[in-house]
């Protein structure tokens, strides 16, 4: 069962690389923001799976903080796209 969870984590990491291709190639800033948002969700799931597999229960908090950081980054870049300034 642990090997299956590890396989799912590796599969998500492979999908991560294709999302990173869109973040590199994307013609506009909105495409890059969408790609980074998808990558943030995937990394949250990967961190949770790694925390369950390695029996390190404190890593769940890392997943929560990573989700918060990704949300704040998305909001900041969207405000910059819309207003051309941050504050």
């Amino acid at each position: 069962m642990d090997s299956f969870l590890t396989g799912i984590a590796i599969y998500l990491a492979v999908l991560f690389i294709f999302c990173l291709y869109r973040a590199y190639k994307g013609p506009q800033a909105a495409d890059r923001v969408v790609a980074i948002n998808v990558i943030s969700t995937k990394v949250t799931v990967i961190i949770a799976i790694v925390a369950i597999v390695t029996h390190q229960d404190a890593f769940i908090d890392v997943a929560l903080i990573y989700a918060m950081t990704g949300f704040i980054a998305t909001i900041s870049v969207s405000k910059y796209i819309e207003k051309k300034k941050l504050f």
Binding site: F18, V34, N37, V45, A48, S78, K84
Partner: protein, 97 residues
Amino acid sequence: MIKEIIIIALLLASGFFFFVGTIGLLRMPDAFSRMHATTKSDTLGAGLAFSALMIYRGFDVVSIKLLIVLIFVWLTTPTAAHIIAKATYNERNGESK
């Protein structure tokens, strides 16, 4: 035995929805279409993966924390997509405030 079958089915469904989201992100022609493809499938994929991990762990403090992370992801992913769509629409139509 039945628990492991449920966990494997949930994780495979989660992997399928993440795959669909990635294909939509790579193949769709426009930024709004890419948002449309990735947001829903990623929300459902994260929900299925966290549900599988909660069933695997059982009722525990870690399971409650996983539920908190799941609710947070379910709240923030559609909100982030809405904010990106609004910013892109206002940028293209010249309604910057």
